[in-house]
Amino acid sequence: MIRKVTRSPQQTEELGAKLASVLKGREMIAMFGDLGAGKTAFTRGLCAGLGISDGVCSPTFAIVNAYSGKYPVYHFDMYRITDADDLFATGYYDYIGNGVIIIEWSENIESELEPDCIRIRISKTESENERIFEIEGLDDYADVIC
């Protein structure tokens, strides 16, 4: 596991961009963390790293946003997905393997995540802008990401 502390939304975005640099284009990235943890900031950075400069926002109501950059990126927000029927009706399974999938609120669909997905747990600390990122599944790239 890679552990990385960021101290501002900007640093969180930079971490996202670094992670983007090691992607091959078909990964699933599952994020876990509370409201305000920095999931969207991280995604914004990741997309920037893939050449997607604007329009990245949390798809709370759309459920999935599709961006086109170095790879296609499918950005899910599972906050409002509460059961298997909901998830099925998003077309989630059709996206798998067709681009980079990055998921906010992975807590809600944990049994449906790909077994080999990259898992990112984001925690707040007592310091207002500080976040701890625990990244599983990219240990081979620790030098690049840290």
Binding site: D83, A84, F88, A89, G91, Y93, D94, I96, S111, E112, P115, D116
Partner: protein
């Protein structure tokens, strides 16, 4: 009788015009392009080049599942819209059954498999005996490891078709199981037409409004069990 049949249930997409016992036009693509971009263009093109127009179509047929969520929806919605405009009947065809019709006229057991991810397939078995196709089980979602003993027990020559065929083939050493040749491997609209024709002759059509996707789903319990098994598999 002029029939327009459509398949877009997985990666390939195809459109066929079938008239009075003959396939008169057949357009098949397996390029990975989005069905929402290709399907109507293909339809327009087969009509135009055959000298037909939409108002000449008497009946529509479509693979309405199982298959990809989006793919099945695109095919069903396209047919629903066209049939609704002219109030023509629609024939629902099981994607798996349509694949068995690729082998109409031969003698074998057809095992139709579509990749349902995580070592599972959407599957049904059919016995093709010349012009007769007998369904041996309902369409279902099944783990490959549970399908293999059934194939073994059939004690017959078995041909695998569908985008899950290679997955199943790679998991078995059963010598009587073989892969369909590439031109017969996938669902296609001409086979949809052949399957639909039988249903049409039996009067099994639906109104455009009643035409619906029929998905197959694993139960939540089965999916959780599989996910757990997979996690344990990864740890060992």
């Amino acid at each position: 009788m002029l029939m327009l049949s459509v398949d877009s249930s997985a990666a390939p997409a195809s459109v066929c015009l079938f008239e009075d016992g003959k396939v008169i036009a057949d357009y098949y693509l397996n390029t990975g392009f989005t069905h929402s971009q290709t399907l109507m263009a293909m339809t327009e093109s087969v009509l135009k080049i055959s000298g037909k127009s939409a108002d000449m179509i008497d009946v529509y047929a479509v693979n309405n599942g199982p298959g990809s969520f989006t793919g099945v929806r695109i095919g069903v919605s396209a047919v629903k819209g066209m049939a609704y405009a002219s109030d023509k009947p629609c024939i629902e065809v099981s994607t798996l059954q349509s694949m068995a019709y690729n082998f109409l006229g031969s003698h074998a057991v057809i095992c139709a498999c579509m990749d349902a991810r995580r070592s599972q397939v959407y599957n049904a078995l059919f016995r093709v005996n010349g012009d007769e196709i007998e369904r041996l089980c309902d369409d279902r979602a099944i783990a490959i490891e549970d399908l293999l003993p059934e194939l073994q027990a059939l004690n017959d020559e078995i041909i695998l078709v569908g985008d899950g065929a290679e997955l199943v083939f790679g998991s078995t050493d059963n010598a009587s199981v073989r892969l369909a040749a590439p031109q017969l491997r996938y669902q296609r609209a001409s086979s949809v037409a052949m399957a639909a024709l039988e249903k049409y002759n039996r009067g099994e059509s639906v109104t455009p409004a009643a035409l619906m996707p029929r998905y197959l789903r694993l139960s939540q319990a089965e999916r959780e069990r599989n996910a757990k098994k997979e996690r344990e598999g990864n740890e060992t």
